[in-house]
């Protein structure tokens, strides 16, 4: 009898504990990142899943090629990220500029990754600037790689 009471007590504790923890978990789940759409086009320079996983490698690799070797016009350009993914927000620069910071921060704050790209690179572009104003060699490159698919 004593044994039974003890077991029952432990079970009850476990059930209550589980219930509390599950309720807590529901409240404390960090919302998943919700990315805004690019201002133009349906597809990035690579499929979305690849970009989400590898964009940092692409950018890191190409920045060295550009600065050190002087290679221009390849497709993984930070400027191209900014041109497409910068969004206007009335809270930022009075909505007069589109800026890419909120787009990057969406995932980076979720994953607790601090980037310093925008300590030097300007995250903003004028509202009226669209991807049409890409450098011509980048546009040509995207067109070519799109055609070869």
């Amino acid at each position: 009898m004593r044994q039974q009471k003890y077991t029952l007590g432990v079970l009850l504790l476990a059930v209550v504990g589980f219930a509390i923890s599950s309720v807590q978990a529901k409240h404390e789940t960090v919302p998943l990142p919700h990315l805004s759409k690019a201002i133009k086009g349906e597809e990035c320079v690579e499929p979305n899943d690849t970009m989400r996983r590898n964009h940092m490698t692409y950018l890191m690799h190409q920045r060295d090629e550009t600065v050190i070797e002087g290679i221009r016009g390849k497709k993984y350009s930070l400027q191209a990220c900014i041109d497409c993914h910068a969004t206007a927000d009335p809270k930022i620069e009075n909505g007069k500029m589109r800026t890419v910071k909120p787009f990057c921060a969406e995932c980076h704050s979720y994953a607790a990754v601090k980037i310093d790209c925008f300590d030097c690179h300007n995250p903003s572009v004028p509202l009226e600037k669209t991807t049409n104003t890409f450098h011509e060699i980048i546009t040509a490159h995207i067109r070519e790689s799109g055609a070869s698919k």
């Binding site: 920045r63 060295d64 090629e65 600065v67 050190i68 070797e69 002087g70 290679i71 221009r72 016009g73 390849k74 400027q79 900014i82 300590d119 030097c120 690179h121 300007n122 903003s124 572009v125 450098h135 060699i137 980048i138 040509a140 490159h141």
Partner: protein, 244 residues
């Protein structure tokens, strides 16, 4: 030293052949040829400047203004720490009183001391002779600033916003004249060169490929005696001066 000279002769000959083959098809007037997308800077080319101080005027600073506008650097009225990619220097002969003026910027040395001393490899020389700071790896130690005899480099002391898309700049890194790589890579001339001819109407600065004997700059260099600042140091600057 003799080996170096031979190497240089070879390079010059190679460039001559290349330019002739181009010339048989089309006549190229532009001083620089835009590289194709994905093509690296080549050591067949050696970019340089020729500055004619006889045409330069002490009252004119269009080249400095153009550099500021193009690359987005500005003064904060703190002369000891302000960035300065290009500056006007006025010289006066003490005996005769004669004065002349010339712009001084990074001299894009063939043997750059700033590259020798850099602990991270951020201070670097591109294949086409342009000396740059790779800000991605610059730790802001400023050793290169000490090493440069031309005082060409400056340190960014302030937070920077509103940078030009083609010229990222940020606090804690060293910077200097890039010979407008973003322009020369697409076949344009540096901003100071353009402003000197179009805005100031002086055409005191010539830009071009020192390795190509048919380029304007090479022709001018073979025609007139020119000097390079502190040539005694053996740094072989890519910037030549006339009338200094």
């Amino acid at each position: 030293m003799t080996i170096d000279t031979k190497k240089r002769e070879l390079l010059v000959k190679g460039a001559a052949v290349a330019s002739m083959t181009i010339a048989s098809g089309v006549m190229l007037i532009a001083p620089a040829i835009a590289r194709k997308a994905g093509e690296a800077a080549s050591d067949k080319v050696r970019w340089g400047l020729l500055i004619d101080s006889n045409k330069c005027d002490a009252g004119c600073d269009e080249c400095v203004v153009a550099c500021k506008t193009e690359n987005g650097w500005k003064s904060h009225d703190r002369p000891s720490t302000d960035p300065q990619w290009i500056r006007k220097v006025n010289l006066r002969d003490k005996k005769t009183g004669a004065t002349h003026s010339l712009p001084v910027m990074c001299q894009h040395c063939e043997n750059p001391p700033c590259v020798d001393v850099c602990p991270t490899g951020a201070s670097m020389q591109r294949a086409d002779g342009v000396v740059l700071v790779n800000r991605h790896t610059c730790i802001g130690c400023r050793y290169c600033m000490l090493a440069c005899p031309y005082k060409a480099r400056s340190f960014v002391h302030e937070d920077v916003t509103g940078q030009k898309p083609h010229m990222p700049r940020g606090k804690g890194t060293v910077e200097s004249c890039t010979l407008c790589v973003h322009r020369i890579d697409i076949g344009r001339t540096p901003a100071c060169v353009e402003a000197c001819s179009s805005k100031a109407g002086r055409s005191a600065i010539t830009f071009g490929d020192l390795n190509n004997p048919s380029s304007n700059i090479a022709k001018e260099l073979s025609r007139y005696v020119t000097t390079r600042l502190r040539s005694d140091l053996g740094l072989e600057p890519g910037v030549h001066y006339r009338g200094v």
